[in-house]
Amino acid sequence: MILNEQSIAEIKKKMVRYPKRKSAILPALTVAYYQVGHLNADIYEEISEITEIPTVDIAEAASFYTMFPKEPVGKYLIQVCHNISCALLGADSLISYLEEKLGIKKGETTSDELFTLISVECLGSCTTAPMMQINDKYYENLTREKVDAILDELRSRA
């Protein structure tokens, strides 16, 4: 099994709440995504076994939602908002700075598989731009100094 006991328990707890079981697909995918970091066909199978929702229904829904990477990513998925409010405050230069610091281009993963860098659409954090999301956490009002500290902290934690 890819999903751990905690995720399975959480999915089971969520799925019984709905009048129709199929509604549990997105919450189940979200639980799986935040545990594993990405989604794939094996995970859809596992969710199907837990929820008794046909795998095809799970895969069909999952393919629509871009929040879930469908390929493995680094331990830390760095998602920089490149939409208008962040762009006006230098999101593009933030992306360049991260590319430089990590030695990768946008869309790539570092060779130690620690960091993947992508840019994404508005994350609803416009008044604290520029910002990025790393895994399930928001980092806001970013400066070069803050980015350095965040990367150092994540590296030391890994």
Partner: protein
Amino acid sequence: MEKKELFKYIDDPDQVKIGTAVSHGAYKAWEKALKQMKPAEVIEEVKKAGVRGRGGAGFPAGVKWGFIPKDSPKPKYLICNADESEPGTCKDRELMERDPHATVEGMAIASYAIGCHLAFIYVRGEFVKSYRTMEKAIDEAREKGYLGKNIFGTGYDLDIIVHTGGGAYICGEETALLNSLEGERGMSRIRPPFPAIEGLYGCPTIVNNVETLASVPQIIKNGVEWYRSMGTEKSTGSKIFSLSGHVNKPGNYELEMGTPLSYLINDLGGGVKDGHNLKAIIPGGSSTPFLLPDQIDTPLDYESLAEAGSMLGSGAVIVIDDRTCIVWVIERLTHFYRHESCGKCTPCREGTGWLEKTISRIEHGDGKPGDIEKIESVCDNILGRTICPLGDAAVMPIQSAIKLFRDEWEYHIAKKTCLVKTEFEFK
């Protein structure tokens, strides 16, 4: 002027806890509605208060609730729309993370008004802190007996499910939200039937924005007259404005409706960033037409902004200074709408693709004579011809940017470069 009603206790870090929230008056309105009012009376109060949908559409909430058929034997559902994703907008997140019980209470009152016993809050999947805070608040409310069975001993049952989305802008559109909540791809539905008649699982359903619902307890607690004393005759109450972009003090500010935009930008926001000059303002989220500097005194209410040629939308005010290339802004936005188009209807799916390609080539110095006319023609073929408002949302800022800054577009095509170079460094 600034008016802290929704944000009254927002700076108290303990406001997320039910004990503190209750000491500040939370769930008093819920008790009053349930014990002293009939559902029809609640609807009538909210109608009279005139509170309009704060998600962007501005439809009167009480009127919407009144569309629920009274004789339907089917279950009724209330959904709180917390799929906040219109670029520029981040007010619902703040409400959920700092005063979750206001939204829970508003949802409870709205549920009672329409006869719902199982309500949902659909939170965008990236808002992990928001949905965890909402889950905790709902658990606490259940423990204290504000939700669950036989609430306040009245025999009324209600539970709320926190549902998480998958980061799709389109799911903030109410029929796409319904599909998404049913476990389908988030594609919009053709109306009619409207959700109030046939919504979630084919049952009568009301979808309201977080801020709209968070305003409801105040109306029930303090009365219609008190609510209407804020704002203007047609745009009542207070509203949260997310101020972002080129401004010295960005942030979420709660204002009385009808407050001049200049008060928000200059008095609260500290003016245009670093002393630069204002070029344009997006007043209501990325899909609303631009305002020009000489319109900075426009009152922030539905009617005044419509008269000024734009919209109040979600209340997301994005300030753009004169170092900014308008084609660059529009490229950024059009990329977004193309990415977020669900692909169900042809004008939006194909049109946003054409728009992005054409605008992008102009921005990158490869524009051709006739491109502006091509963009205008594609816009005309999208506007009003799509299943849901996403198509219109994509088109409105483009049409506005061409109308107001046509010389910049022409310069871009002729000279193959920006009239003003956009290079913003983060600190």
